[in-house]
Symmetry: C2
């Protein structure tokens, strides 16, 4: 799929906003778990997402953006929250980080695909730039995952295993 | 998990609101596909969801509700929208109906589990009632699926196969 610039910008803004909201939720959850380090990380990621969104909005200027469907930008449900456990909110730090990593990876892959397929030069340039940013987020989360205790091996669908 | 009444009501309202938003998106998408029948169905489901939400809100009255995390009530991403296809918005009628059915089934299972586990009598009563409502939605979607052309068999994760 080759995006027009307005289509691409609409996706990028929606994705940053979604990421910002999810990081805020994760930060609150980690705070409730008294994991202040990981909570602070997620608060930083929340702030970065908002800053990136604002930068993209500045680029949008007077361009009119299309409306998107929720599934075009939303983060996935954490994998262990399936079926009867769908409403268990207890993510430990390791799995919260893995969940964020999975969604950042998905965003990175999205931007890469857009950059590859783009016929519009500005879309190609921006998508390549955003892919590199997401790659940095994935690398940062990987560092945190390395030093975070992994509480159990029973996660059937551990995103770390799939990445 | 045994919910308090405020916790349960917060979930039920959030779930109805999420369903309402998703049905509106699905209705718009079906309209864009010129499938007016399925679009009208989704508009009805949108309206029912809002009516149900309003009924629950009336039950809430002055009870103070807890804040929920997004993954406690959100619909899943349509299964075919994985990874590189994550942003393909083209759901045909059959898969739009299957997607709705999967989410309604998930809601039904949620309410059943809550009803079974409830120690609060009012939570048990309401959750049982809501489970029955969701069951009717699933049955309605099944009828529509029966008479809707299934366009391809290549859906690796067809929710109809998993149900």
């Amino acid at each position: 799929m080759s995006y027009s610039l307005p289509e691409f910008l609409a996706h990028a803004i929606a994705m940053e906003e979604e990421a910002a909201e999810r990081y805020l939720e994760l930060a609150d959850m980690m705070e409730a778990h008294r994991n202040d380090d990981v909570s602070a990380l997620f608060r930083d990621m929340h702030r970065f997402s908002l800053m990136h969104r604002d930068a993209i909005r500045a680029r949008v200027g007077a361009i009119e953006l299309p409306q998107l469907k929720s599934w075009e930008y939303r983060w996935r449900t954490p994998p262990e929250m399936g079926d009867e456990d769908a409403f268990d909110t207890q993510l430990d730090a390791y799995h919260a980080l893995s969940y964020a990593r999975e969604n950042e990876t998905r965003a990175m892959q999205y931007y890469r695909t857009v950059a590859e397929d783009a016929s519009d030069a500005e879309v190609k340039r921006l998508a390549g730039e955003f892919a590199a940013e997401e790659e940095e987020h994935v690398a940062a989360l990987d560092k945190w995952l390395e030093r975070t205790h992994r509480p159990s091996e029973t996660w059937a669908q551990d995103p770390a295993q799939r990445a």
